[in-house]
Amino acid sequence: MPSKSDHELVPVHELMSDKEAKEVLESLKVSIENLPKILESDPQAKKLEAKPGQIIRIHRREGKHDMFYYRVVIGE
């Protein structure tokens, strides 16, 4: 059965490596707790098997531009 998360309106979620995550935090000049959050139980986080503390990059399209959004995974 097709999953809801395969729908074209669900933006691409991508789990970032620790190294990438560190770079992103540095470039945004934020500490990890100041990042927007995503629940570990979120369908996309589950699919990526993300663990609390990891960062998920979301590829969203704003008008004609591809944009990155970042979410730190948190537990319940």
């Binding site: 945004l28 000049k29 934020v30 500490s31 927007p36 008008g63 537990g75």
Partner: protein, 850 residues
């Protein structure tokens, strides 16, 4: 200033222990009264001087200090019978419900209790090391636990069957239909162990449950409830004092009855009365208790009322404070005042002050200012040690002598000083802008009417506030960020909100019409208003084109192409060559004349253009004598004929539709039933007449009709307004579901209408005008609509106002940082790139976004 800073780690609230209360309330009050016959506070009464003093000069009998420095001291009332603290009845109920009446243990098995304890410990540990809550089992919350306790039928330990506990507001507890006395409740609460309470989430070190039953009542010091001396010399006591007198009186009566060995029933009645008085002392709005009232019938303001709500301590005194260096008065117009000026009454200007910082370089000037004895003079002198001295004739000479760099002089507000001007509700940033003060005679603030739009102000009695920024930093911030000239365009959509309006547009429209010519006298007069002392080239007849006059107001070399009043609007090399100035010329919608001027010539030129064109338009309107009277709303013969023709045409069309519908010949619209289709088609016909009538109006009314001219230029009124006055009102009472169709018994609005009649007149279409007068039925239809919109308006403003307040409070400290990310005050990232595209509507005027 030396400041010691230490971060507060945590605050723990508890309940006052009666022993502590007795230590705190050192004075035992015994007399339920305030003053004796000589007007002297009664010892042991509610204004006992040992609780502090409020009259200046008197000494406190406890600490010996004067009113200013005495912090006040608590007194206490020893209640002869305890009462429940009414604000904690929920907690008491919870504990009573959760414990066994026999062995006083929690109604849980050891096994379950340990489970909860473990869960609690885990949470506590996790909080301590600031970690995520890993494997705390779900369903371990207190809600789940209480539910489990509630379902217990008997005590697991001693086997006692649980009694039927009932709580009845405000403070009554029944167990198996027996009404428990407060002391019995206290006995039960006393026996619950610390361990069991911990499981219930109560730290019994700071909050033993039996402390919730009061046996001693703290009486706040007199400076918490000061008495006021009225002009008549009569003393008026604070509401709290009144309430405390009540409590003491009942307490005393109860004591006397107890000592006299009165029957139990009388004792119980008085006891309950004491309980109710105690309840209203804490909260006089407790449900199911009639509020304690003043002799006048006004409800007393007791403890909870002091803190609660909009007028409570928190919202009124702590979140909202009054400010110095501010003024408030009625506003009125003055077109000669610049957009970024504000006319300040001399009376206000002489009270408000601006600091003058004395340095080695301006000390001579300072001396000169200090020696002045009338209006622009120095009010206060602040010495280097921060001591503020009022400058009076007696000490002026001395101050001049002692003047030295580093002192600050407070001088009266003068022309050109930077002030902040504000009108509430401050819904957006342009509700507060900085204006240069201009000291004037009169008693109102004067402002240019072009800046009414951002403040949403009018002059029907509106008042506005004026603030004087004191520090140089604040002054320059206000000057360079908040000046109206930088705020011409709205951050919402980039449209101009500081523009010409009303007469300022009518005048421009009339001036720039194609066939408008001015005589030399007129032209010279108008240009002198604008401060232009040159004339354009005259026509052959020695007249001057209105467009040429307007062109002189434009910045030199402006090139612009746009549309205005539905026609092309072209400016070439600073000359208006085609088109007429109307509402949309000034930056509404797609027409960006103001944006163009701002972009090409800067904010100062832009401000000057708005100011001058408004002033000129005003002068022109005044010169031409624009006025509206009955003549504007008297239909010409031609128009009257058109009206009859249009209406009969529409009505016959509709009759035909109904005919077709009856004969099932009507072609239904896709997605609608036949009936719905008919209704939609009728509405479409009626909308069509309305539009066509408007077209006729514009076609047959000449430019002599000022009302129509104003509608054309967009300055005030619409074609529909005029149409309703001269031709017909059109469809009235369109409720949410379309045309009005019921109201009387059977499928009709009024008894004179046949049931099921769908013709225009039967469903609220009014074919008469305000000028011709309305038939009673038509008036009714009109009133239905008016009532509806009035009610809607009242509801909508309250709703949307609160919605907006919540929204703006939630967003208030979000800002766009230098890397275009949006963050809050704690550096929490909200959005990586502002708006996803870095686009600010304010700066996207001519750029196309692809």
């Amino acid at each position: 200033m030396i400041m010691q800073t230490e971060a507060i780690e945590s605050i723990k609230f508890g309940v006052l222990n009666p022993d502590d209360a007795r230590k705190l309330g050192v004075i035992k009050l015994t007399v339920p009264d305030t003053y004796n016959e000589d007007g002297y506070p009664i010892e042991g009464g509610l204004l006992d001087q040992r609780m502090g003093v409020i009259d200046p000069g008197l000494l406190c009998k406890t600490c010996g200090a004067r009113a200013k420095s005495c912090p006040g001291h608590f007194g206490r009332i020893e209640l002869v019978r305890p009462v429940l603290h009414s604000e904690f009845t929920k907690v008491i109920y919870m504990i009573l419900q959760s414990t066994c009446k026999n062995c006083h243990r929690l109604l849980l098995s050891d096994e379950h209790m340990n489970e909860y304890k473990d869960a609690l410990n885990q949470i506590e540990e996790a909080v301590e090391i600031d970690a995520e809550l890993g494997d705390v089992k779900l369903g371990m919350g207190s809600a789940a636990m209480l539910k489990r306790i509630k379902n217990m039928k008997r005590c697991e330990r001693c086997g006692t069957v649980k009694g039927k506990l009932k709580f009845s507001a405000p403070t009554y507890f029944y167990i198996d239909d027996y009404k428990m006395k407060p002391d019995e409740i206290r006995d039960l609460l006393e026996k619950v162990s610390q361990d069991d309470l911990q499981v219930l989430g109560i730290d019994s070190v700071v909050a033993r449950p039996e402390w919730l039953v009061l046996s001693v009542l703290l009486v706040p010091p007199v400076n918490v409830r000061p008495s006021i001396t009225l002009e008549s010399g009569e003393r008026s006591e604070d509401d709290l004092t009144h309430k405390l007198v009540d409590i003491m009186r009942i307490n005393l009566r109860l004591e006397q009855n107890l000592n006299a060995g009165a029957p139990q029933i009388i004792i119980d009645d008085l006891w309950e009365l004491l309980q109710d008085h105690g309840t209203t002392y804490f909260n006089n709005e407790t449900a199911s208790i009639p509020p304690a009232r003043h002799r006048s019938g006004r409800a007393l303001k007791t403890l909870a009322q002091r803190l609660k709500g909009k007028e409570g301590r928190f919202r009124y005194n702590l979140s909202g404070k009054r400010v110095n260096y501010s003024a408030r008065t009625v506003i009125s117009v003055d077109p000669n005042i610049d957009l970024d000026e504000v006319g300040v009454p001399l009376e206000i200007a002489s009270k408000l002050t601006v600091p003058f910082y004395v340095t080695a370089w301006n000390i001579d000037k300072a001396r000169e200012m200090l020696s002045r004895t009338e209006y622009p003079m120095i009010v206060n002198a602040i010495a280097k040690d921060g001591k503020r001295k009022r400058v009076i004739d007696l000490n002026r000479e001395e101050l001049i002598k002692d003047l030295q760099p580093g002192m600050v002089l407070e001088r009266q507000l003068a022309d050109g000083d930077i002030t902040l001007f504000n009108r509430q509700p401050s819904l957006h940033r342009v509700s507060i802008m900085s204006h240069r003060a201009k000291v004037l005679n009169g008693r109102t603030f004067r402002m240019n009417y072009c800046v009414t739009a951002p403040y949403n102000a009018d002059f029907d009695g509106d008042e506005m506030n004026l603030h004087v920024p004191q520090s140089l930093e604040a002054q320059s911030e206000a000057k360079y960020l908040m000046n109206p000239k930088y705020q011409v365009f709205s951050p919402r959509d980039g449209d101009a909100i500081i523009t010409n309006n009303e007469d300022g547009i009518t005048g421009m429209y009339m001036l720039t019409k194609d066939d408008n010519f001015l005589t030399k006298e007129q032209a010279v007069y108008i240009l002198s208003i604008a401060g232009k002392y040159e004339l354009p080239d005259p026509t052959k007849d020695g007249l001057y084109r209105g467009k040429d006059i307007f062109s002189l107001l434009l910045p030199k070399g402006l090139d612009f192409e746009g549309r205005s009043a539905k026609a092309p609007f072209v400016i070439k090399k600073g000359k208006l060559v085609q088109g007429v100035v109307a509402k949309d010329t000034f930056g509404r919608g797609d027409n960006k004349l103001l944006a163009k001027i701002g972009k090409d010539f800067g904010y100062d030129v832009l401000k000057e253009f708005i100011f001058v064109s408004a002033k000129v338009a005003d002068a022109y309107v005044t010169m031409m004598g624009v006025t509206v009277g009955v003549k504007e709303y008297t239909t010409s013969k031609k128009l009257a004929e058109e009206r009859v023709r249009l209406l009969s045409e529409t009505f016959s069309n509709i009759e035909k539709l109904i005919e077709d519908y009856r004969n099932r010949k009507l072609e239904p619209l896709i997605g609608y039933t036949l009936r719905q289709s008919l209704e939609r088609m009728i509405i479409a016909e009626l909308n069509l007449v309305r539009d066509r009538a408007g077209e006729m109006l514009l076609k047959y009314e000449s430019s002599d009709n000022v009302a129509v001219e104003m509608a054309r230029s967009g300055s005030r009124g619409s074609v529909l307004n005029i149409e309703q006055m001269t031709m017909f009102l059109g469809q009235q009472a369109t409720l949410s579901g379309g045309r009005i169709k019921r109201g009387y018994y059977t499928n009709r609005v009024l008894p004179h209408i046949a049931p099921g009649d769908v013709r225009p007149g039967a469903r609220g279409f009014v074919a008469t005008s305000y000028y011709s007068g309305l038939a009673p039925t038509d008036l009714f239809m009109h009133a239905v609509g008016s009532r509806g919109s009035e009610v809607y308006k009242a509801l909508l403003t309250a709703r949307s106002g609160y919605l907006y307040r919540r929204l703006s409070n939630a967003l208030q400290d979000y800002s766009v940082k230098s890397d275009y990310s949006v963050r809050d005050a704690n550096n929490n990232l909200v959005e990586v790139v502002y708006g996803g595209d870095k686009m600010n509507p304010l700066y996207t005027q001519f750029d196309t976004v692809d």
